[in-house]
């Protein structure tokens, strides 16, 4: 049981580290490349900005979670589930 728990914790920590790096990289990419564009949209076209806001937060959540799952599988680690 203890071995299993340790394995679960190890896998989860690795997944979190990988996920953390990817999320931070994605965040930097967003700020670097589309930060100014989003600010400009906010002041010039609020409707498009609203749609983009929702799309971006959904993409950030969905894509990064999927990419991490893929990477963890590539690492040969069992998913917690």
């Amino acid at each position: 049981m203890q071995v299993e728990t340790r394995k679960v914790i190890r896998n989860f920590i690795i997944e979190l580290v990988v996920y953390g790096f990817l999320v931070i990289a994605y965040f930097l990419l967003i700020l670097q490349s589309i930060g100014d564009w989003l600010t400009s949209l906010y002041f010039n076209n609020l409707t498009v900005y609203a749609i983009m806001a929702l799309v971006l937060i959904v993409i950030q959540a969905v894509v990064l979670e999927k990419v991490t799952a893929f990477l963890v599988e590539r690492l040969g680690l069992e998913r917690l589930e």
Binding site: F12, E15, L16, Y19, G20, V23, I24, Y26, F27, I30, L31, G35, L38, T39, Y42, L46, T47, Y49, A50, I51, M52, A53, L54, L56, I57, V58, Q60, A61, V62, L64, E65, R79, L80, E81
Partner: protein, 301 residues
Amino acid sequence: MEFPIAGVTISPLALVGIGFLVGILGGFFGVGGGFIAGPLLFWTGVPTNIVVGTDLAHMTGKSIVASNRHRSLGHVDLKLGVVMVTGTIIGVEIGAQLIELLEDMGNVDQVVGISYVIILILISAFTAWESIRAIRMIQAEKLAVKDVIAFQNITKRMHGIRLWPMVSFPGSGIASVSLWVVLGVGLLSGILAGFLGVGGGFIRMPLLVYVIGVPTHVAVGTDLFEIVFSSGFGTLTHALKGNVDILIALVMHTGAAIGAQIGAVSTRFFAGPRIRLLFSALPLIGAILVIIRLATGTEGH
């Protein structure tokens, strides 16, 4: 770091930290966490109108991550979530109309504030009482089960309502319940959420457990699934009014996403009554924050 939409300069680490904290709470308890994130964002200097919309935006992303994780753990009843969303959205609109009615009559802040505190304290006290009883039951009878509800009177009565159409929710282990009961619970949680101006996760989670009879773990995951839609809808409406700084939300979400995963996975190591006992502290914290706001006259969210 400068955020030109909100017109503030905030350390991104502070935002990631707030997101992380709220993410853990959200992933573990199935709540949006707006009652904690709101005051913290306000404290960092974000204008009040931007706080609400931005919080909803980050909540959308966080709930997607957390509910997806819960889904992979088998903790999301998609059918139940979809049915309840319908009632919730109608309820939120009714709650919002109630607010407008009160605004016309004046004193809306005090009425909402006092109602909020009373409801939060009742939820907290009942959940704590019930979960302690359930834990004692498990210990006394040495039950080898993951979840026990010590107070099933309401659930039994609700399941006894045979109003057509009857539906089943195999994902929650519910063989037959009236569709109107489920819609009614969604409606009630929506009205309270719309009336109190909150996401309503801390209201919906206990209602799912005690009224519909959903196991705690599934209630947490299904609640998060619902929050994806309710906060997504809120994000869109607030963004159209210029109340969302998506850059702040994206930064917060980097912490929230990690926190949400930790919170969601941590539920595996706790039995249902223990999750409910820990959960009972949340509404109390929310009530204390509202009391402080009412007493000091400051804007919390």
